[in-house]
Amino acid sequence: MFYVKWAFVITFWVLVVAFFHYTLPQHDVARIADTYEKRIDFGENSIFWTNQGTGDAEGTVNRDVFFIQAFRTDDRPMIYRNEDTGWGWPPYFKFDTANLQAEANNLRSTPNDPQWAVITHYGWRNEFLSIYPNAISVRAVDGPDVRIIPWLNIVILTIVAAVSWAIWVRWRRFRAARIDPMLEDIGEGFDAAGDSFSDTRGRFRRWRDSWKRK
């Protein structure tokens, strides 16, 4: 029982952390190498792609998707997709995909003469699933060492922590005030039933034994 409880708790927290890590924005300092557009047929990984741009046809099985190729400061490549989130989830309300593609294209550079940019994105890059993080915005910076403080993430996580703590505290108070006394009463009821049951059994056994010793 101990392991089952901890399995649930750990699974719950893993899911919560994964959800926030996927949905909250992150910032990468990168050098944009190229931008392109590719036809994607949505298969098993379709939940990691957003909907079509607002105004376009819905529910198509494939679509042209913008991509941005970049190299981060450790010289490893990172490919971002560039899609509208529209009115759907996550609530970034991103409509300016084509504009962003133009801005990103404008910041392309070569390794010899790099133009560094900060790319704000959400989502995961997983080669095995062929999923890409979604770029939200791009802005040019002077050099690869820029100090970025994720203010929005700090605010959101603080609010979530405060709300969860408030709910948890109220749940504990409610439990102590209402549920625990009731459970004690039920426990006492079980004890009393158990006593009377063993009394009954005692009597039956004595009567049975009275037949044995003949």
Partner: protein
């Protein structure tokens, strides 16, 4: 536009549920305060009439109107997000 309509309808329903819950909670807190005030401080006159008058004053008060902020706040937040994401 259909996605926007869907978002607005679902948002309206959810916010209305929150608004009603908050409104009822606020009324019950106000009623509790009025009852306690009468029980501890006043003790004279008609208890029910005092409470009814207090509740009518509450109905016209600013505090009750502020609960409509439940509708306003998400709209403002979404507008700000749209501005920051799309128009820098």
């Amino acid at each position: 536009m259909l996605a926007l309509a869907r978002l607005l309808i679902i948002g309206f329903v959810v916010l209305t549920v929150i608004y009603l819950s908050l409104s009822l909670y606020s009324r019950s807190v106000r009623r509790g305060k009025l009852e306690r005030e009468w029980d501890e401080e006043i003790h004279t006159g008609d208890r029910d009439a005092f409470i009814e008058e207090g509740m009518r004053a509450y109905d016209g008060s600013l505090r009750k109107k502020l609960i409509l902020g439940v509708y306003v706040l998400p709209l403002v937040t979404v507008t700000i997000i749209i501005y920051l994401t799309n128009f820098h």
